[in-house]
């Protein structure tokens, strides 16, 4: 069964600008679907239509089996939404907010307190539940937002850039929670600007550009579609570059490219291809300084399909490549 299905979904703004221009999506129940796109690609507009905050101007969309335009109340009953820039009422405490959300979703007064405690515990905010949200850190606010989105046990959960601006520790906590939800059978529609996030969490990824889906598939299939892994070899002695190049020509189906003392060529089989290459170079007495298999990344896919890097890529690299001390969250 499809959890989300769109056919030719469109949104045209006044002035004729088509933010979304015919999007077809099929997200299976229980799937984690990563929705990627550069700024202004139509990502947020698509999500706002799917969660019944914006009326489509063309095509149709069903979520959890109900039409977003004609049966919005049914859709709302079955979806949970954690919005970008978690908009929370800073004057209220975490517990009050979850309780309010539960009431707004029609949960009976008898069950409100119990359900609230369960969720607050689940997202690790038990200690902070009676403090005003104004005192929460960014990570705590996102977790509270998630708890609110889960209050009515939604079939489909929309997470709009859930980790943007979070420190690495908070980000990992949220990733864990998404995996757990998937384990429980919840469908997750995740928009993100972090390719690593999509790579880690999504069963399938869709890339939207200029209002249209330009690529869709599992992260592995998308990467395989654009290129095979490459083997990069650095030599100790640059003078032997040509000799090594001739020697290694037989390992890939292209003659290795060279730069300074480095060779690079596409190989099938990834890491398994390393041993024969090393053996051949060793037999010829050519010393190797470094050797590395480089898998194509989702960013490569992204660049190929859209012509530019995803906006958060650098930030993501910073967050993961640089040793950022984990932010201490007041608990």
């Amino acid at each position: 069964m499809s959890a989300i299905e769109t056919v030719g979904l469109e949104r045209e703004y006044r002035g004729g600008l088509k933010a979304v221009a015919g999007v077809d999506l099929h997200v299976q129940a229980g799937e984690v679907y990563g929705f990627l796109g550069p700024n202004g690609a139509g990502k947020t507009t698509t999500v706002r239509m799917l969660v019944t905050l914006l009326r489509p101007t063309g095509g149709r969309a069903t979520v959890a089996g109900f039409d977003v335009a004609t049966e919005p109340a049914q859709v709302r009953r079955r979806i949970g939404v954690a919005l970008q820039e978690a908009s929370l009422d800073l004057l209220m405490t975490g517990r009050e907010l979850v309780e309010l959300q539960a009431t707004l979703h029609g949960i009976s007064p008898r069950d409100v307190a119990g359900r609230t405690q369960e969720l607050i515990e689940r997202v690790g905010l038990t200690q902070a539940q009676d403090r005003r949200v104004a005192t929460y850190s960014g990570g705590m606010r996102r977790r509270l937002d998630l708890a609110m989105a889960l209050v009515h046990e939604p079939e489909v959960l929309f997470l709009d850039e859930p980790t943007t601006g979070l420190d690495p520790v908070s980000r990992l906590t949220l990733w864990e929670e998404v995996r757990r939800l998937k384990g429980e059978g919840t469908t997750v529609f995740l928009t993100t600007q972090y390719l690593e996030e999509a790579d880690q969490l999504a069963d399938r990824v869709g890339i939207i550009n200029q209002g249209q889906i330009v690529a869709e598939g599992t992260p592995a299939s998308l990467k395989a579609e654009i290129d095979r892994p490459r083997l990069n070899v650095s030599l100790v002695d640059p003078d032997r570059l040509e000799q090594a190049r001739t020697l290694l020509a037989g390992f890939g189906d292209e003659r290795p490219s060279t730069e300074n003392a480095d060779l690079s060529f596409a190989v099938d089989g990834g890491a398994k291809a390393i041993a024969p290459v090393v053996r051949a170079l060793d037999d010829a007495g050519i010393d190797v300084a470094a050797l590395q298999v480089v898998e194509p990344s989702l960013d490569d896919v992204f660049v190929k399909k859209t012509g530019h890097h995803l906006e958060g890529t650098d930030a993501a690299a910073d967050a993961h490549g640089v040793a950022v001390p984990p932010a201490v969250e007041p608990a």
């Binding site: 919005p72 109340a73 939404v81 004057l91 029609g106």
Partner: protein
């Protein structure tokens, strides 16, 4: 139905946080109508000496104006708060609830009715301290629902503008609606003493009936003849502006 009432109650209590949890936030809204009333009375007080004036004391005559202005300020503030909620994204969260849009609107609007008791009570106490006669409980029983209802009405007006402009910059428009509705009536003097154009305007202004409904207990006895038009006018206006606000809410999203 019960679920909807619970939603209305929950949203009302949330709106009360704005005055109970932000120190000092309530002060301008509470003081302004009282200052305005006392100021008007001290400046134009001698107007009550004019032949044909229905009250011996100008302050007593304009207490209802102050009560309705305070309620109107509260209603407008509800509109401004909604505009802020729209700007900050909190409103999206409300829209994502499966509850009927009318229930969401009722919660927002009813909070204005409840909050209007604060400036109203303060103004009433100041007025009594300055010598206005205590009107009696039956009289208050008529005046209080009218004042609270007027706050709900101006909240609907604020909500309509907030949904239309989606920005707090619409605040002066919200206030202006209140200003015109209350003052372009028999606010300052009985109809016979008004300039011709204002007399015509006040006759057609349905808020005049509400104002006179609140005023009757202060300047004389509560009569059925002054009471039913006030409630009918308020109910009619609430029905029209409530419907417009619900329509705005429906058009806002899906």
């Amino acid at each position: 139905m019960t679920a909807n009432l619970l939603i209305v109650r929950a949203l009302m209590f949330r709106a009360l946080n704005e005055i109970t949890r932000v120190p000092g936030a309530a002060i301008p809204g509470v003081l302004a109508p009282t200052i305005f009333m006392v100021g008007l009375a001290s400046v134009f007080g001698k107007a009550a000496n004019l032949p044909g004036f229905t009250s011996e004391d100008f302050l007593t005559f304009i207490v209802p104006v102050g009560l309705l202005q305070g309620a109107g300020f509260t209603g407008a503030a509800t509109g401004v708060n909604l505009a802020r909620d729209i700007e900050q994204g909190w409103f999206d969260r409300l829209l994502l609830c499966p509850s009927p849009r009318a229930a969401l609107l009722s919660g927002i609007v009813a909070s204005a009715g409840l909050r209007s008791l604060l400036p109203g009570t303060f103004l009433f106490i100041v007025a009594v301290l300055l010598g206005v006669d205590f009107p009696g409980f039956l009289e208050l029983l008529v005046a209080v629902p009218l004042v609270m209802g007027f706050a709900c009405l101006m909240a609907c007006w604020g909500v309509i503008l907030a949904l239309r402009f989606r920005s707090q910059q619409a605040a002066p428009l919200m206030q202006m609606g209140n200003f015109i509705a209350v003052l372009f009536s028999t606010s300052y003097a009985p109809k016979e003493l008004l300039a011709n154009w204002l007399e015509v305007f006040a006759t057609f202004n349905p808020v005049t009936l509400i104002l006179e409904g609140v005023r009757q207990g202060f300047v004389g006895q509560v009569t059925w003849a002054d009471t039913w038009p006030a409630f009918l006018s308020l109910a009619g206006l609430l029905a029209i502006f409530g419907a417009l606000a619900v329509r705005g809410l429906r058009r806002y999203g899906i």
